[in-house]
Amino acid sequence: MDGILQSLGVIFSFSGLAVLIIGALLGIVIGALPGLGPSIGLSLLIPFTYNLGPELSMLMMISLYTSAEYGGSISAILLSTPGTAAAAATAIDGYAMARKGRANEAISISLTASTVGGVFGGLALLLLAMPLASLALKFGPAGYFAVGVFGLTSVAALSGGSLIKGLVCAAFGLALATIGIDPIAGTPRFTFGLFELYEGVPFLAALIGLFAVSEALVMIENRVAAAPVIKDKVGHVFMSGALWKETWRSMLSGSVIGTLLGILPGVGGNIACWVARDYARARDPHPEEFGKGSANGIAAPEASNNATVGGALVPLLALGVPGSPTTAIMVGALIMHGLHPGPQLFTEAPSLVYAILFGTIIASLVQYAAGSLFLPLMARVMRLPDAVIAVGIMAFAVLGAFAIRNLMFDVYLMLGFGVVGYLMKKLRFPVAPIVLAMVLGYLVESNYRTALVSSQGDYMIFITDPVSLLFLVLSLVSLLTPLWRRLQKRRVRQVDVDETANGTAR
């Protein structure tokens, strides 16, 4: 109870509300700028939140994360360029509606649906995280090891088109995670005598390089032609009663879909938005309107991508396993404050946990207020020249990397990771598996070795422990499902080719 009161005290204090508002404004701007997204925004923000303390720092990050998911829809609607991947489905009906002179209406649906989705996801987090965490507290090291392995299998979902490239990246990330003093014996590994590497590769420096610097380098190459901006005046964002009546079902279905998919490792808003849109179209009495500016075509994906925020935080808080790059970055923030995410956080830092639980809901409401009040300003921010955005990213990356430990070594390392990230983007390697592997590497190794020490070297502990067995089986299923699907697709394609060939022969 004390934890709840303390957390509410923090949230509703002047500083609490201030960080929520700043986070929301930054999130909307970062989400609205095409190419940037919550991962880049958070990686640049984290180093500067160190002085705020863990509660305020997490509130600011959740607020940014939530609002960036909404912000992506602004450029999707006004420029037909989704600010984030999760707003891709919104661009279809949003831009179509805007071209009909209803940009204001499209943004009002997007903001309202995002808020509804965010609140729904937050409530789901509030209800699910605690029971799951109390269950997880009973897990032994073998169980935790298997949970970590299960988290790593989301690499399959985060790999994009090529699973093998995703696995290569995961191996690279795991290798990086083993650099530094080892967690059981205390032996320095792969440090080459550099004391800066004794605590391991600084996770935030790697993140900033891989996500932010690489994006700035990509940005300098792309000479973007002027986008066909919708010049409608964007003012109020309140939805009419008729629109509420038309869209509430899509908002609800989108929220449920987003929350459930958000909980699954590796599945985020970028997948949820399409699933929610398809589901809404299947249930809509006028499916032919989809693609031509349907209100439900905006409401469903927007509710779903914001609901994934609450969903994605469930495994993070309950099991300590991030299911997406953005939540992996949040792990980095907790580590920076000397905390490790997982069920033990409920007893070690209850006020922080409740601040996250309640903060997720409040952040959605703050996003609504900030989105309503500052929308005309946000529409102008989208016109910032690429030059200013790219050098801004580089400048904040340098300052952020330095702020982590006040070492210039981290700045050099960050720039190095920036080059790696840039080359990876060019060669179509997914960056997310590296980040996930770096976060989960410690969890996997420390529990793997502790389990073996406790079983005196008997590997059967991973099979005899029921939790471990369950998660190892789930990991296998999670890894093999995409392969099975790919084989199925190839078989269907082969059947089609055969049928076409037979038809031609006749």
Binding site: L399, A403, V411
Partner: protein, 168 residues
């Protein structure tokens, strides 16, 4: 991203037929696969040099790195085989704008290197101002001065003074 459909079966050790882009992807992926194998092989050698564990049942500090590098070698080998079989695993079809990319990167490396002599805030101001000149646009010099002064003010005022970051 990845065009599995354009996969060409067979074991021909040459890029798949499918245009210039596929040809480029072949060489890019071939180099990437070789680099990946080299990285994992070096990591394996370094892992094998680590001492054994002291506690009963402990597999030692080198065990997981060794397993990770073996896993990395296996997936890299599969990657290489896929590339050599002519499967288009995607890559960059456009030429890299080397002067611009290296220019931006070089500028910020210079910023980092000179920070200890003339101060990070000033370096960032100069660096960001010059960096904007790498981008096309109207009134480049006014934009460069405005950006440079703006970022110097942010670094010095906001981070140096307000957030008390001990900037070099």
């Amino acid at each position: 991203m990845t065009n599995q459909a354009s996969a060409v079966s067979g074991s021909n050790l040459s890029p798949a037929s499918g245009g210039e882009a596929t040809h480029k992807h072949f060489w890019q992926n071939l180099v990437a696969a070789c680099l990946s194998i080299a990285w994992n092989a070096s990591f394996l050698i370094l892992s094998l040099a680590l001492p054994a564990g002291h506690s009963r049942g402990d597999v030692g500090p080198g065990s997981l790195p060794m397993q990770v590098s073996v896993f990395g070698l296996i997936v890299s080998a599969v990657y290489l085989v896929q590339v050599l079989r002519g499967i288009d695993l995607g890559g960059s079809s456009e030429r890299i704008d080397v002067p611009r990319v290296l220019g931006l990167l070089g500028l910020f490396v210079a910023v980092a290197l000179s920070a200890n002599w003339i101060g990070l805030a000033l370096c960032l101001g100069i660096g960001t101002g010059v960096a904007t000149l790498l981008f096309p646009g109207e009134k480049p010099f006014i934009r460069a001065i405005a950006t440079g002064v703006g970022f110097w003010a942010i670094a010095y005022g906001l981070f140096g003074k307000l957030l008390e970051l001990p900037l070099p």
